[in-house]
Subunit: 279 residues, 2 copies
Amino acid sequence: MAKKPELDDFRVPFFNDGKKAEQFALDDFDPAVKPFSTGSKESDRARLAEIGAQLDALQERLHTQTRQRVLLVLQGMDTSGKDGTVRAVFHEVDLLGLRIVSFKAPTPVEAAHDFLWRVHAQAPAAGELTVFNRSHYEDVLVPVVLGTLDDAARELRYRHIRQFEALLAESGTTIVKCMLHISKDEQRARLQARIDDPNKHWKFDVADLEARKLWGKYQTAYRDALAATSTEIAPWYVIPADSKTHRNVMIAELLLRALVGMKLEYPPAKASLKGLKVD
Amino acid sequence: MAKKPELDDFRVPFFNDGKKAEQFALDDFDPAVKPFSTGSKESDRARLAEIGAQLDALQERLHTQTRQRVLLVLQGMDTSGKDGTVRAVFHEVDLLGLRIVSFKAPTPVEAAHDFLWRVHAQAPAAGELTVFNRSHYEDVLVPVVLGTLDDAARELRYRHIRQFEALLAESGTTIVKCMLHISKDEQRARLQARIDDPNKHWKFDVADLEARKLWGKYQTAYRDALAATSTEIAPWYVIPADSKTHRNVMIAELLLRALVGMKLEYPPAKASLKGLKVD
């Protein structure tokens, strides 16, 4: 009997795992598999709704906290489904404790600071669940692929990221990082669909085709970034994402596990309110 | 046959309507009526889901715009249902084009600026639908009730608000402002429910009871603020809100009407993409 898949089978080895981290290869992960699917799309959706309700209940507790916070980082190639993940995974979760931050190319003011300046400003506040839809990782991946960052500068950014994430984690933030892993063929189909539907043209940028030409370089850059920044306090997971439903379920499961692990409780009842009657 | 209720029956007369604005009285609006209910809670919920789907479709179009934006302002006494409105009305709407801003008491840095400084910073960007959960109106209502703002200063703030909202509207922002109107009895029941459930204690602040003692003063302050700042480009609506379901449906109907009125369209298809095949 095959071993039942576990979420941690998809965790990128920790940076300080030496050999394991060195041997980590994205190619070892098939984007088309659906290890956390329940078997049918219908029951996957039911499972997602079930997790959604649990996430909502846990997030209400998180929202009452004065210290704990959660950061979910979503990274992936164009069309890998970051937007769709946000929509599906958080459908049942109360908007009030949730914040979605979509990072674009840095503005001149942002670019005039260190690369973590604008990111730090968006870190989750106490009681908040924040999603980074793209993130500080773009500021390593893109310049590495375009050749504008040399090896020493790249390694320095990795170290700065590890230290920055440690600051967040050691200040009460639970961090989960997901790389939405799609195949080059799946990306072709999704880009083509955007081109073929005029109402999707606004989503399409010819620059996406330029990035696609650099597919291999991006895969290498991702591999290196993941291996260099997967840590115990901020682990990376590779999400097989050719199936949208599988992607949603797996990310929801990861987030649920993280929130359950936080042992969130309501603050203790206020004794002063016992028996109080409102006039 | 009674006249079918219309949304504009609940619009506060425009500031420059002279006599009408002077005669406007909150007491003329019964918080317990349900004029936009379809008759049963079940069909109201179905209607809300239907509007939600329409709002989602319209908001996708809004999201493709480079100029238009939407601002929904929610005001009301404690427990009037601002949080619940956000959750219910936007349940079907994509998080990515939506931003919820909850204003608290000003921080020292915020208080060191004019009262619209922190509000302006949160104004919706192009393509965005922003909800103010409380707003700049708190900065008139609270000091008026506490007696820390004299008549001249209050009138000056009203004028500053009208001019600020004109700036937003004339820069492409559609503004809808809702006052969630509940009865004093309904507030008692809702506050009591928070006291009676220990897991709701975190939502309860004894200061809420202090504000409740000033109920009459707050109603007067609301009346004056609404009459002074309801304008053609930023109208106020009084929402009968003792029924949560009615409140949700009515606010959703108002927002739907506003978005439909914007005649949102997708940007024209890009001719350059016609027949393009992705490699």
